[in-house]
């Protein structure tokens, strides 16, 4: 599970697509397709979680001491 968490959205989606097409092509035995179904639904949840885990702020970058860019606070919201 810990490894699955590390999947990027793109990777999760790719995996999901391969599962869906494998099942749709009917190449997977029924028993396996049920296991893959569970995996696919898990991936859908994971993708949604990534979308829901939204960044609300814009990070302001500034040059640090070593000349490297580092986040230096959040951009003020002029509206709302």
């Amino acid at each position: 599970m810990a490894e699955e968490k590390k999947l990027t959205f793109e990777e999760a989606l790719e995996k999901l697509e391969s599962i869906v097409s494998a099942i749709e092509e009917g190449k997977v035995p029924l028993e396996e397709s049920i296991a893959k179904y569970a995996e696919g639904i898990q991936l859908v949840k994971q993708c949604r979680a990534i979308l829901d885990d939204a960044e609300k702020k814009i990070q302001l970058l500034a040059k640090g001491e070593g000349g490297e860019l580092t986040p230096a606070g959040e951009l003020d919201e002029p509206e709302q």
């Binding site: 793109e10 869906v20 099942i23 029924l30 049920i34 939204a54 814009i58 970058l61 951009l75």
Partner: protein, 538 residues
């Protein structure tokens, strides 16, 4: 202002106006010159004085800057940064100089043959007495300087391949972090933030603030791009947006500068550019991997729409569920179909059928046996009664009765007529009595014995085929024991495929010896209990 250090460039209108406005200035010189003057009675002027008076005259004629239209020729860039060239038209030419401070502000790239409008002051280069136009501003004739500059840079970069489609990197479909180069206070950052939040809030957004217009803006934008690109891997940035809201060509100019173009091109991270309004195209747009019309459009192109993606996820989940459910349903239906088959519905049916068949067969078999026995009995009955009639005693009785009857008839018929006839008759009667019924009985017995022998022979033939043999004495009696034969006896040995005769020489475990003939032996043998070897023939 380095131009200020050039004494010839210094142009003080009050000073220039001096000789004309104040007659006392240079009066001594005039007198001296007048003293040395020739035929007209005026003293000759020094070169300096003449040039000075020419400069004065020019200044009087052209008190302010003049704008001159002409074609550039002999254009030379000096290492000092000054430009030297000639302006010419069909009938005349004029030397011109543009000092570095002014040249630096020229956006386009001047070259021979280009028609320009040069603005500056007309003056004489004292050292050479050379009339020159000291150009302070230069713009291309016709198009604006910025347009020309844009065109020139575009052509140059195009030649270098910076706009090649093959040089474009694809932007990730689902960016994880986006770096934005723009002004932190402009409309662009607001638009971008709103768009990214609406469409793809999953991405982290980093802002690298930079001025987007004015002196030095281009250099700062270029630096911001370089810094973001360098930090991209560390911060997880996979897409960079370079953006600025709408404005005049001058406002957007920083994005048309080579420095920005080079930085964008050099970046390893894919860059989406959205500068100005829809109608504006900047060099930055052209170099970027993805070109967007506006900052909002850039943000839209950089990320997918979460609504569409969520819909797609739901659709994928739906397809998965549907397909798997279909698979399960199909399996269930197939299973149900199998269960409906007779084998599963009534597993004992087959067994019952078989049992029934067994019963039927056994019944038939029993019926057949009984029938056959009954049939046999039916056939046996008459045979028995017929056989009873054929019993030898009955036959003999009947024969005797018949003989008596015949004899009686004969005696009655002949009436004892002849002794010889009577003798013959009694002889015949004797033969009849001796021969007929008893003779027939003997014959039957012989036949039975013969049949029994045949039966016996048949029963042991199979044993002979296994390699055993049967030895008989000359009389046909079986040799069952070594004692049944004596030396010299002839024996016959029967094998499966034939027989041979031989003579007894003696016991196999001793020398040949004379032994008595077997008649007594045979009698003796009959009294002995049956040999166990008989079992072979059972």
């Amino acid at each position: 202002m380095s131009a200020r250090r050039n004494p010839f460039f210094e142009f003080d209108p009050s000073k220039a106006r001096g000789p004309r406005g104040g007659p006392d200035v240079g009066k001594d010189v005039t007198a001296e010159v007048a003293a040395a003057a020739g035929a007209d009675g005026r003293a000759p002027l020094t070169v300096s004085a003449l040039v000075g008076r020419i400069k004065d005259a020019l200044a009087a004629e052209f008190p302010r800057r003049v704008a001159v239209v002409g074609e550039l020729s002999n254009f030379k860039r000096h290492s000092s940064g000054h430009w030297y060239f000639r302006l010419k038209d069909a009938g005349a030419s004029l030397d011109a100089v543009m000092f570095r401070s002014s040249a630096e502000r020229v956006k386009f790239d001047p070259s021979d043959g280009l028609e320009v409008v040069a603005e500056g002051r007309v003056d004489v280069y004292d050292v050479r007495g050379q009339l020159q136009l000291y150009v302070e501003r230069m713009t291309p004739k016709g198009a604006g300087a910025l347009e020309l500059a844009f065109r020139q840079l575009r052509e140059k970069l195009q030649r270098e391949g910076l706009f090649d489609p093959s040089a474009k990197r694809p932007i990730p479909q689902f960016p994880r972090a986006i770096g934005v180069v723009t002004s932190p206070t402009g409309a662009a950052v607001r638009d971008i933030r709103r768009t990214l939040r609406r469409r793809w809030p999953a991405a982290t957004v980093y802002l690298m603030p930079s001025p987007v217009q004015g002196e030095g803006a281009a250099a700062q934008i270029a630096e911001a791009v370089r810094l973001l690109d360098a930090a991209a891997e560390r911060l997880g940035i996979d897409t960079i947006l370079v953006a600025r809201g709408g404005g005049s060509l001058e406002d957007l100019w920083a994005f048309n500068e080579e420095a920005v173009a080079r930085a964008v091109h050099a970046a390893a991270t894919p860059i989406v550019s959205g500068v100005g309004h829809e109608v504006d195209t900047t060099i930055c747009d052209l170099v970027a991997d993805v070109r967007a019309a506006t900052p909002t459009a850039a943000a839209e192109l950089a990320v997918p729409d979460q609504a569409a993606v969520r819909e797609m996820l739901s659709a994928a989940a739906g397809r998965l569920s549907r397909r798997v459910r279909q698979g399960v349903e199909a399996g269930r239906a197939a299973l149900a179909g199998l269960c409906r088959s007779v084998v599963f519905r009534d597993p004992s049916a087959r067994l019952r059928v078989q049992m029934q068949r067994v019963d039927e067969l056994s019944h038939r078999m029993r019926g057949g046996l009984v029938g056959r026995v009954a049939r046999g009995r039916r056939r046996l009955g008459p045979c028995e009664s017929r056989l009873a009639l054929l019993h030898p005693a009955r036959l003999a009785e009947r024969a005797a009765a018949a003989v008596d009857r015949l004899a009686g008839r004969l005696i009655w018929a002949l009436g004892g007529r002849s002794k010889r006839a009577g003798d013959t008759l009694s002889r015949l009667a004797g033969r009849l009595l001796a021969g007929h019924p008893r003779g027939r009985l003997r014959l039957l017995r012989q036949q039975v014995e013969s049949a029994g022998r045949q039966l016996e022979a048949m029963s042991y033939r199979s044993v002979l085929r296994r390699g055993f043999s049967v030895t008989r004495r000359a009389g046909g009696e079986l040799v069952r024991s070594a004692e049944d034969v004596a030396v010299g006896d002839a024996v016959q040995t029967e094998l499966a495929d034939g027989s041979f005769r031989s003579r007894v020489e003696g016991p196999a475990d001793g020398p040949p010896a004379t032994r008595p003939t077997g008649k007594r032996k045979q009698r003796k043998q009959r009294k002995r209990p049956p040999d166990p070897g008989l079992t072979l023939f059972d």
